[in-house]
């Protein structure tokens, strides 16, 4: 079969799974079956992934479980083309961090599957109880730059899509409150005041953790009241971009400044190398830092030495199966420490680098702030 046709067929199957979720219908097929079909497609079209399968002695014809698909390390996205097509780069999202001068690149044929999945799960996790309409729409504000300032950021793309699709009054209203690295507090104040005047409709405020840290620093002990039942979604780390704040402290401070419940400060976990995202549910889950997965993605803590799943309750590095990564890597291996908890997982930071046992420079040392 022509790779394009095969890719289209796989995208259709993933989108059917997303649509079933969105419509509260049963899964049309087993995620394992679909994951294995995607892995076979990728091995046929990405030579590096075929080598990785061979290295791990994986017989692709016999593959029946997503857990047995060799995971592509996220570093590979910085070093080589992880894409099932040799020609063209229709859509490229890039990481912000670099390794020896290179940013990670996630190439996609188009963002349709990404958009459908992000929207379905984002709506489910972020919006319940906020809007009275079906599907719910609320005023959305982004404590971040507009898409034209960061056209290659998957996060900016997603936030923009959310604002456009789930925002109740985006047209003609200011949505982005960070331009050229500077907060426009006056405009944010103006927008929120307008909403309060119109009837106190809850809003959704989204941004990166470091943007919120800068915002908190700018506010000091002042508050910036959001309408009742509003929610904040924060995502990402801070390394090298702001002072570092613990997740608990950041959530508490965000709740204080915006005068909302701590349980309404939700966290998102995603990365450029993925097409799916994970969120904490409002309430107890977000207080406990438990992330929920959509049915088309799964996080498994694995032993960093063996890459085998760790025992229940133990910490490992996150191995993520993401069916939406049809044309890149259906399973990726991160260096993020996670532990399964309840119906989801908790994020415990990044695995520390190796302590040097001599004067040979360590990889982490080279990637440090210097």
């Amino acid at each position: 079969m022509d790779p394009i046709d095969e890719s289209n067929g796989l995208h259709d199957r993933v989108q059917a799974m997303v649509a079933a979720f969105d419509g509260n219908k049963p899964e049309p097929e087993s995620p394992d079956t679909l994951a294995c079909d995607i892995a076979r497609f990728q091995a046929r079209n990405i030579p590096g992934f075929a080598r990785l399968c061979a290295r791990h002695d994986v017989d692709l014809q016999e593959l029946v479980s997503a857990a047995d698909i060799p995971a592509v390390p996220t570093d590979a996205f910085k070093l080589t083309r992880v894409f099932a097509f040799q020609e063209g780069e229709p859509v490229v999202f890039q990481t912000s961090g670099t390794t020896v001068g290179r940013r990670g690149r996630h190439i996609m044929r188009c963002t349709d599957t990404y958009d459908h999945a992000a929207l379905a799960f984002g709506r489910r996790m972020l919006m319940p109880l906020m809007g009275g309409t079906q599907p719910p729409v609320v005023p959305i504000m982004v404590l971040g730059p507009p898409p034209n300032e960061q056209p290659d950021s998957s996060l900016t793309h997603m936030l923009s899509m959310f604002a456009h699709t789930m925002g109740s009054d985006a047209n003609g209203q200011e949505t982005y409150f960070l331009r050229d690295g500077v907060f426009d507090l006056a405009k944010l104040d103006e927008r929120v005041a307008g909403i309060l005047l119109k009837g106190n409709q809850p809003v959704l405020l989204m941004g990166t953790s470091f943007a919120f840290v800068h915002f908190l620093d700018a506010m000091g002990s002042d508050t910036f009241r959001l309408p009742a039942r509003s929610r904040v979604m924060q995502t990402g780390g801070f390394k090298g971009k702001s002072r570092e704040v613990s997740a608990t402290e950041l959530r508490r401070e965000i709740a204080r400044v915006f005068c909302i419940e701590e349980g309404d400060v939700l966290s998102e976990y995603g990365m450029t190398e993925l097409s799916s995202q994970f969120y904490t549910h409002a309430g107890e889950d977000t207080l406990a830092g438990i992330f929920t997965e959509p049915p088309w993605a799964h996080v498994t803590p694995v032993n960093p030495e063996t890459l085998e799943p760790v025992e229940d309750g133990k910490t490992g590095i996150a191995r993520i199966v993401d069916l939406c990564n049809v044309d890149s890597a259906v399973a990726i291996q991160t260096q993020d420490l996670v532990r399964r908890e309840g119906h989801g997982f908790v994020l415990l930071g990044r695995m520390p680098g190796v302590a040097p046992r001599g004067c040979s420079i360590a990889i982490d040392e080279m990637l440090g702030p210097s």
């Binding site: 995971a71 390390p73 590979a76 070093l79 001599g358 004067c359």
Partner: protein, 341 residues
Amino acid sequence: MRSVREKTRDVMRILDVARELQRDDSLMKKLVASTGLSIEGVQKGMSEHLETDATEDDVERFVLKFGDVSRVTVILAANVFVASLRAIACARAKGERVTVRPSSREPELAAAIVRALDDPNIELVSSVEVRNLREGEIHVYGKDETIAKFRAAAHVPVIGHGHGLGVGWLTTKTSVLDVLAGLESDIIAFDQRGCLSLRVLFVEGGPARAEEVGRALHRALNTTKVPRGELTREERAESVRFSDTMTMVGEVFTGHAHVVAVAPADAPAIVPPTGRHVLVRSALRAAEVTSALAPIAKWVCAFGTDDVARAKMLGPSHARFSALGRMQKPKLDGYVDLRVT
């Protein structure tokens, strides 16, 4: 102030002591325990890489490179075990009195040298309160971050010897078979924990030649007579990550105690973990070496090659240029890290 003759005598005495320690089996056993290297690895370090072969003329030239200070405090934070000899020699060449604080991870050789010297002007301490030092200067061997902390706290000058790595360049004028033993030695010494250890090898020519070199290196490392020491859990995890990542990029040859990854010419010069992991990268033209090295150039301490004259035009000027096989055997000619000014 000591004369050049007196300084030379003081440094020669240190080398004499080190020569005696080269025959000390009980010290070898202690070094195996503290370093985690194999006994053969420790023996190789002591017999081939401890810089004891300098003549009196060499040492006289060596001491002339240093000025005079009343006291040098040497802080060994993270270094390969043989590095303590040169560190003490540099300090003694410069300081009337020397205080040595060995590395907590590997204190054995530094302590053995100082004890055997039995010199009232050289003392061994287990800790140093940097902010209390009011005379002389401090020589720190460790991470940039560690050096920066000492600089921030100190009231006297701090000379920092940071971490680094070695790179190699094999040109088309030499067959890989002619330099294989040297390449192997540059890699296996100290299991690559040294700042002069070879970790990235550029191969002039196309991808086929790079693969040929990678295969040859893989065979040589498979049959080496110096077993690798134990890796920590974290080091083993890094090895897995490197191997899987490089498998996505190119060919990976995995031995029982080494990994050789062969990357195409457009791949960045990613630095492999220590513990006998090597990146062999094709460089079709010499100039590619310079551009590929640019992101890591500031950490390059050693540059081994079969064509030193050409290599000097490609590599960073602060690197030590040497023949392949000599990267971890520098002459006793001053600080080992030429980035130190």
